[in-house]
């Protein structure tokens, strides 16, 4: 599903992996016209990430690339060359937004700072998504997802005591940086354009995601510690437990929810013990023991049965679903749209996570083949002739 909310907005993306590509995808799914620039012959490194259709590796069949780049047009451009930079300038002159995730050292090396690029368009909104930001002592540090999660506060509290701290199951930091960048871009446009936005991926975690933890630490208030599947200082239960066919999240932040849950469980004797009167104490001191009592009951029931009980009694129980179960959840069917593409046939991709009423919608377009829209963009936008296009190709510029 593609909305037309940002219709008329032209965006140039120079992005690899997740952060800048997901940012531009958010804009594209809202109706902006996005041109994605890739390196000639190689392309976005997400093309080699996979997962590949039927495990047949091919740079046009990488699931992550195809997902993050739907609704975009694709061109190739070698920014190592003066001609390539001139062409980029031409694209920016006709656009309102430029988003990239070049490392700061690469921005320096290629001369792609805001001051030089705004010479092409003084109203340009440029968003630079970098690991640690454009200033500060770590500016030039390298980082991948786990490093950003580690510095951003994801890892310290995840895992078991005496074992290594864990990170997200799959790379996630880029998505948070992308959301920050996409909103910042639109906010900058609302304020009149002509701005440079500095988004540090690590700060997508250490800011909005984990920022309050500093004050929590100052007051020693619900500190995150590695305590396995339990979290300290919450009322029990607030954890994932075993059930008949897998795992279920069991919560009950409100006292009445806990009383209802016990009722549904048949008011077991163990719950009447004095030492379980305070549920935070129960969580912090007896959680493993109580898990056993709870699982005795849960193991008799499937995830589906427990979900039905949750809906009936307004209890916060939730099945731990794998990605197959998520994909096959009928209530999410309209989140996914099948997109046909020569190299893969129809594949379903998730669209925008919001429903906008009364907006014109269009079916989504597939991610571009490498250099697919070179002629459309370079000839139609920038006015290069077909002969010049051939020369640009023959000389490795595009």
């Amino acid at each position: 599903m593609t909305y037309s909310v940002l219709q008329g907005l032209r965006v140039v993306e120079l992005g690899e992996s997740a952060s800048a590509p997901y940012c531009a995808k958010l804009l594209a799914d809202m109706g902006a016209e996005v041109v994605k620039i890739e390196r000639p012959g190689v392309g976005d490194q997400a093309r080699e990430y996979g997962p590949f259709l039927k495990d047949q590796p091919h740079h046009e069949r990488s699931g992550l690339f195809l997902y993050l780049n739907t609704n975009k047009q694709g061109v190739t451009l070698d920014l190592e060359t003066p001609t390539g930079k001139e062409i980029l300038g031409g694209l920016l002159a006709q656009s309102q937004v430029f988003v990239h995730n070049l490392h700061p050292t690469e921005m320096d090396r290629l001369g792609l700072g805001y001051d030089s690029l705004k010479a092409h368009n003084d109203q340009l909104v440029m968003a630079s998504i970098t690991p640690f930001g454009l200033t500060g002592p770590y500016r030039n540090y390298k980082a991948y997802d786990i490093n950003l999660a580690a510095a951003g506060g994801i890892c310290e509290g995840l895992g078991s005591p005496d074992r290594e701290p864990l990170t997200f199951g799959t790379s996630e930091v880029g998505y948070f940086a992308a959301m920050a960048a996409a909103s910042s871009i639109v906010i900058a446009l609302l304020a009149g354009g002509g701005q440079h936005i500095d988004i540090a991926e690590v700060e997508a975690m250490s800011g909005i995601y984990n920022g309050p933890e500093a004050l929590m630490a100052v007051y020693e208030w619900r500190m995150t510690r590695r305590t396995g599947h339990h979290a300290l200082d919450f009322p029990y239960p607030n954890c994932i437990l075993r059930c008949k066919d897998g795992y279920i999240f069991v919560g009950s932040p409100e006292g009445r929810q806990w009383r209802t849950l016990l009722e549904v469980m048949g008011n077991p004797e163990w719950a009447k013990e004095d030492r379980f009167r305070n549920r935070t104490t129960m969580n912090n001191e007896y959680a493993d023991e109580v898990d056993g009592y709870m699982e005795e009951w849960l193991l008799q029931r499937t995830k589906a049965e427990l979900l039905a009980l949750a809906l009936e009694h307004r209890l916060p129980l939730a099945p731990v679903r794998d990605f197959g179960e998520v994909r096959n959840d009928e209530s999410l069917a309209d989140l996914f749209a099948a997109i046909d593409r020569p190299d893969t046939g129809p594949i379903a991709f998730a669209g925008p996570p919001y429903v906008l009423s009364g907006q014109e919608v269009r079916p989504p377009q597939p991610a571009p083949l490498l250099g697919q829209h070179n002629a459309d963009i370079y000839c139609d936008w920038l006015g290069y002739t077909k002969e010049e296009l051939v020369k640009l190709y023959q000389t490795g510029i595009i």
Binding site: V5, L26, M30, Y49, G50, P51, D55, G63, L66, Y141, K142, Y144, I146, N147, A151, E156, T167, F168, G169, T170, S171, E172, M179, A180, S183, V186, I187, L190, A191, Q195, H196, I197, E203, S206, I208, A214, M216, A217, W221, A231, I240, Y247, F249, L307, L311, A318, V320, R321, F323, G324, V326, S331, L332, I347, A350, Y354, V355, L356, S357, G358
Partner: protein, 411 residues
Amino acid sequence: MSQEDRTAQAGPLTGYRVLDFGWVLAGALPGMVLADMGAEVMKVETRQRMDYMRLGRPIIGDKPDPEQHPLFHNVNRGKLSIALNTTKPEAIDLIKALVAHCDVVIENFSPGVMDRLGIGYDVISGIKPEIIMASISSNGQTGPLRDLRAYAPSIGALAGLDSTMGYEGERPLGLKHAYADIAGALHSVFAIVSALHQKKQTGRGQYIDVSMLRATVVTMGAGLMEYEMTGRVMGPKGNHDPVMAPYGNYPCQGDDDWVSIAVRTEEEWQGLKTAMGSPSWCEKEQFASRYSRLGNRRELDENLSTWTRERTAGDITELLQSHGVAAIPVMGAEDRLFNPHFQERGLYSDIDHPALGTEPIYNIMWNLDRTPPSIRRHAPLLGEHNQQIFGGLLGIDKEEIARLEEQEVLW
């Protein structure tokens, strides 16, 4: 910059006004962002049913105090607070009067509550057609899961997020963060400001229905596509990456001291080797290529750990980064608060709060160079701005406001 200066400085959204029914976390965050960007955000709350984030143990003394919750102080800074008891019909009338002055309405009550109160989108857009209203809920305003009682961890479970979160091959531990709240809130901000952009161009309003479940699912690209492309489902993955080795958090010399290290390219592997002084184990055949290192990553991790254990996370970081290798310590909250990089970039600001004094409050770090966001004031006391809003904006006189307070309408 003093707090007075901060308040006075215009932001990119100065001039926009927001009626913010958002509470707890997912609902409170969008208004917080808009306030930092300069919008006037009026938080609608009530003693009748207090925002959960005002509850909990007090920092000072032993009596419950709605002004002492550290999370509340973080995620409601910059807002104005008006106390309105929505169980009273007069409060609903006041809300309708306020809507006429607003550009955006945000709410995250259970689906159906706004309609039941008589202030659903139909009513609100009837008052002001160009209004933008965002409803944030766990599972959307429609569908079979609409009425499921769900919190951030429930949604992490339902979205597939938790299925990969744990040590490789072991039970899922779950992610003990409010991931779904934040994913829901951030997608909401994007939808809201996009709708404002459209409103500016065309004058049209918009209703936005954001599901936190959907907002979490769309960030699961790798896991969703694994199933879509291969039919396989992922289980708990530990710190294993499909294309990188070494990749993990490695033990260091200090107590519970860890460093994250990730190596993607051959050049980075050579950098790591050189930084370690080219130990002989690096030359083993099983570590000779990216491919073989991935296949033998457990043995690789063991060898690398013997080296990291002899050093501090800080020393390793400096050494490896100087050789072009991605490394950074696993940081705790205090590490970030006192870290020179984050300090130079201004991750935290000292904000004075009337109940607790000076506190480190995080900045959103969306750095727009010409119109930067800033924390404009401390989180409001409950009802702190009744006089300013009902007197100033709506022109209600003092006696009438006193009566409304007396009768627990402004409550």
